[in-house]
Symmetry: C2
Subunit: 412 residues, 2 copies
C-alpha cells in the first residue's frame, strides 16, 4: 500500500477537525469571525491594474521570467528601508529574503533548525500556522506561559534550564495571533537578555505590527540583539493584500544564506510579477496611506466587537482589547468547551476558531479566537449577539451561570 510508504512525519500531519467544520460555512450565509482574512474592500484593485499594465508594457519579459531566489533587488531594498524606518533596525537589502508569504518563512526556518525531537519555545498560545509548518519536522513544543505583557520571562528561563535541544524561541510581539496581546518594552528587553545569555535564536514574527490602532510602535527585538540572534518575519498580506503571497525573512549571515538555499529547493523563487507589483506600489505614494485606512477600519471593527462583547457576554467570560491587528481572544467560563459552543454557533450562522488549535500541546478548551477584520460592524454585532445567545444556551444546558452582562475585557 502507498500509505505504508509515507514518511514518519505524516503521522502528525492531519486534517484539522475544526477546519473541516469551518469548510461547511463555504457558500452559506454565515457570519465568519473565524478566519484571518483582511477586508477585501480595502484591496488595491484599481491601482494594481494600472501598475500591472505598466510593468508588463515596460518590463514584461523580466516580470514573467524566472528570477533570483533571494528576491527582486529593488523590493529587497524597499523592505529593508521600511523595516528599518518602522522598527529601528539596520538591515541591509542583502539581509532580506523575499518569500512566498511569511508562511514559507516558517517552513524554511523549521528546515534550517529542526531535527526530530528538537525543541521550539513559543508563546502559549501561539500561531496555528507555525504549528502546521513545523510539526512536519517532528519537534517538541515547549509552551511558555504568557500574561498581558507577553511571555513570562521567569518561566522562559526555567524552561530553558530543562530544555535539551532548544533551537529557537518563536514570538509574535505585536497584536499576537491569536491573543491580540502586545509585549511591553520591558519584556522584549528581558527576552533578548535571556536569548543572548543562552545564545539561542529568536524568530520575531511581525505580520500585524503596522496595523496599530493607538499608541506607538515598540522597537523590534533586533534592536536589542548584540549577537544577531533575531530572525525577522514580515508580510504584505495585512498591509497590502494576501492573494499575491509575498512576505520576507530578515536575518544576518550565515542564516540568510542557508535560507536562500532552502528556498531554492522549495520553490525556486517567489513569483516575479508579484514582487514587482508590490515594489511599484510602494513607490506609488499611496502605499502608506492605505495602511492608515486599513487601521482606521479595523479600529472601528475592534471597537464594535469589544462593545458588543461587553454588552452581550455572560459573567465569567473575559476578552482582550487588542491595540492593533486582526484578532481578539475570548476566555469562556471554566469548563465550557469552545468546540461545543462552535457547533451551536454554526447552527446559528456564526463561526469562530476554538482556541485549542493554538496550543501545540492541546488543552485550553474554553478559549476562542475572534477575527474582526473581515466583517462590517453590523455583522460583527450580530455575530457576537448570536455567540452570546449560544453561550447562554450552553451554560443553561449544563446548569451553569446565565447571569447577563458583566463581561469584562482583560485589558479594558
Amino acid at each position: 500500500m502507498v500509505t505504508e510508504a509515507f514518511a514518519k512525519r505524516m503521522e502528525v500531519v492531519k486534517a484539522s477537525a475544526i477546519r473541516e467544520l469551518l469548510a461547511l460555512t463555504a457558500g452559506r450565509d454565515v457570519i465568519s469571525l473565524a478566519g484571518g482574512l483582511p477586508a477585501p474592500e480595502l484591496f488595491p484593485t484599481a491601482e494594481l491594474a494600472t501598475l500591472t499594465s505598466r510593468i508588463l508594457a515596460e518590463r514584461g519579459g523580466a516580470a514573467l521570467q524566472y528570477s533570483p531566489t533571494e528576491g527582486y533587488g529593488p523590493l529587497r531594498a524597499q523592505i529593508a528601508a521600511r523595516t528599518n524606518s518602522h522598527w529601528g533596525t539596520a538591515y541591509t537589502a542583502e539581509e532580506i529574503l523575499v518569500v512566498t508569504g511569511s508562511q514559507q518563512g516558517l517552513d524554511l526556518v523549521g528546515k534550517l533548525f529542526l531535527d526530530e525531537g528538537d525543541e521550539i519555545l513559543c508563546e502559549s498560545p501561539t500561531y496555528v500556522g507555525a504549528i502546521s509548518a513545523w510539526n512536519v519536522m517532528r519537534p517538541r513544543w515547549v509552551e511558555v506561559p504568557t500574561d498581558e505583557d507577553g511571555m513570562i520571562i521567569a518561566e522562559l528561563e526555567r524552561l530553558l534550564t530543562t530544555s535539551r535541544h532548544p533551537k529557537f524561541i518563536y514570538v509574535i510581539p505585536n497584536f499576537q495571533n491569536p491573543s491580540g496581546r502586545t509585549w511591553s518594552l520591558e519584556r522584549r528587553q528581558q527576552l533578548m537578555a535571556v536569548a543572548t545569555r543562552h545564545g539561542i535564536s529568536v524568530l520575531e514574527d511581525n505580520p500585524y505590527g503596522e496595523v496599530r490602532f493607538e499608541g506607538t510602535h515598540l522597537p523590534s527585538l533586533r534592536t536589542m540583539d548584540p549577537d544577531r540572534l533575531v530572525i525577522g518575519l514580515g508580510t504584505f498580506s495585512k498591509i497590502f493584500c494576501p492573494g499575491l503571497r509575498v512576505g520576507w525573512v530578515a536575518a544576518s549571515q550565515p542564516v540568510l544564506g542557508k535560507l536562500i538555499l532552502l528556498k531554492q529547493g522549495a520553490d525556486l523563487h517567489t513569483p516575479t510579477l508579484n514582487q514587482m507589483q508590490i515594489s511599484a506600489s510602494i513607490d506609488s505614494g499611496d502605499f502608506e496611506a492605505r495602511i492608515d485606512r486599513i487601521a482606521a477600519v479595523y479600529r472601528e471593527r475592534r471597537d464594535a466587537m469589544s462593545r458588543a462583547l461587553e454588552r452581550e457576554l455572560p459573567a465569567g467570560a473575559r476578552f482582550t482589547r487588542p491595540a492593533g491587528g486582526l484578532f481578539l481572544w475570548l476566555e469562556l467560563p471554566e469548563g465550557v468547551d469552545a468546540r461545543e459552543l462552535l457547533k451551536r454557533c454554526m447552527e446559528a450562522g456564526v463561526a469562530f476558531v476554538p482556541g485549542e488549535s493554538f496550543y501545540p500541546n492541546g488543552g485550553h478548551a474554553n478559549t476562542v479566537r475572534l477575527n474582526y477584520s473581515n466583517m462590517p460592524v453590523d455583522r460583527i454585532e450580530e455575530g457576537v449577539r448570536r455567540i452570546a445567545v449560544a453561550l447562554r444556551g450552553l451554560l443553561a444546558a449544563r446548569g451553569g451561570s446565565v447571569a447577563s452582562g458583566g463581561g469584562s475585557g482583560a485589558k479594558a
Copy 2:
C-alpha cells in the same frame, strides 16, 4: 554559535560551485546556454495586462484574497481537462493540487515519502532541482542507468531487489532535463509493470511534454497504472511563463489529500491572482496557439544548435537530438572535465552547465547540458563555435585529439 543549532540536513545543503560561477555572468555580455530559461519574447505580456485589468475590475476582492490551499477551482478543472486531453489520463478536478511552481511539487512529494535514508530511484542523470528539493530529507539516491529509450528496466529491477526502503521512482519521460531524451512507449509500459508488481509510487514529471517539435505525444504513465501509483507533476512555466510560479500535482487519494495538508504548512496556497490569470488565459483562445509558436521557435533553435555542434565539435564528442523541450546533452571525449571547459568558456563569453550537477551521486565529469530556448539562432551558433574552440584548446593542452569535424549526434 547559531550554526551549531542548524539541523543535520544542513550538512548536505550547500551552495553549488557551478551556480556561483554562473552568477558571474550576471550583467556581462555572455552567451548563456546554461540556464533553463524560456524565451521571454514569447511571453503573453500584452494579453496578461488586459486579462489582469479585467480580473481586478470584476473579481478583485477574491483575486487578492487568501484562497483554498488546493487551488482555484476553475483552474483545477482546466488542468484536469488539458492533462486528460493531451496525455490520455482521466483525472478529476479534485485530483489536482495547484502548487507554487512544480518545484514545490517536488518539495511536497519529498516531505510525503522520505525519511532519512529512504531510497529514491531516478534516471541517471536526473533533474538537478529534484536533487536540491529532496536532499534536505537526506535520502539515498539510486541512479538507474539509461539509454536513448529511457531507464534500462532490467537495471531498475536489479536495483529494486537490493533496495531496502525504496519510496518512489522519479522519471521525466518527455525531453528529459538534462538529457533531452524521450522514453519509448515500450519502456513506459515496462516501467509501470515493474512499479505495479512492487507496489511502488512513480513520480512522472512532465514540464516539457507539450513543447514537442516532431512526432506525436506518448501517453502518460498514468494510463498504464491500474493501482494509481503515478503522481503527475506539471507546470505552466514552459507553455505560458515561469514568473507566475504556477504548477500542479495530479494524484489520487490519499496522496493528494496529504499533499494538500503539507502545502498548507509550506505556503498556505499558490497566489490567487496568478491562478486566475492563467485560468483566464486558457479560456481566452490563444493559449494553445502560443504553445505552437513556442515549439516552432525552439525547434529552429534546436536545429541551429544541432547543426553547429555537428559542424564544430571535434571527434569523440557526442550529443543528443531532442524531439522537444529545452535541453540537449553533450558527452565530451573521455577524460575531459566539463568544469575545466566551463572556465575556458566563461573567459570566451559562453556558459553552460557541467553535467556532473545532474548525477546525485557525482561523477560523469565529461558531460554538459546545453540550453537552446533562451538565445536567438546566431547567438547559439556563435556560442557553440566558442565552446568548440575552447574544447580544442583543452584537448590540445592535454595532448589529446584535435581532429576537426565528425561530431555525431547520438540520435542524429
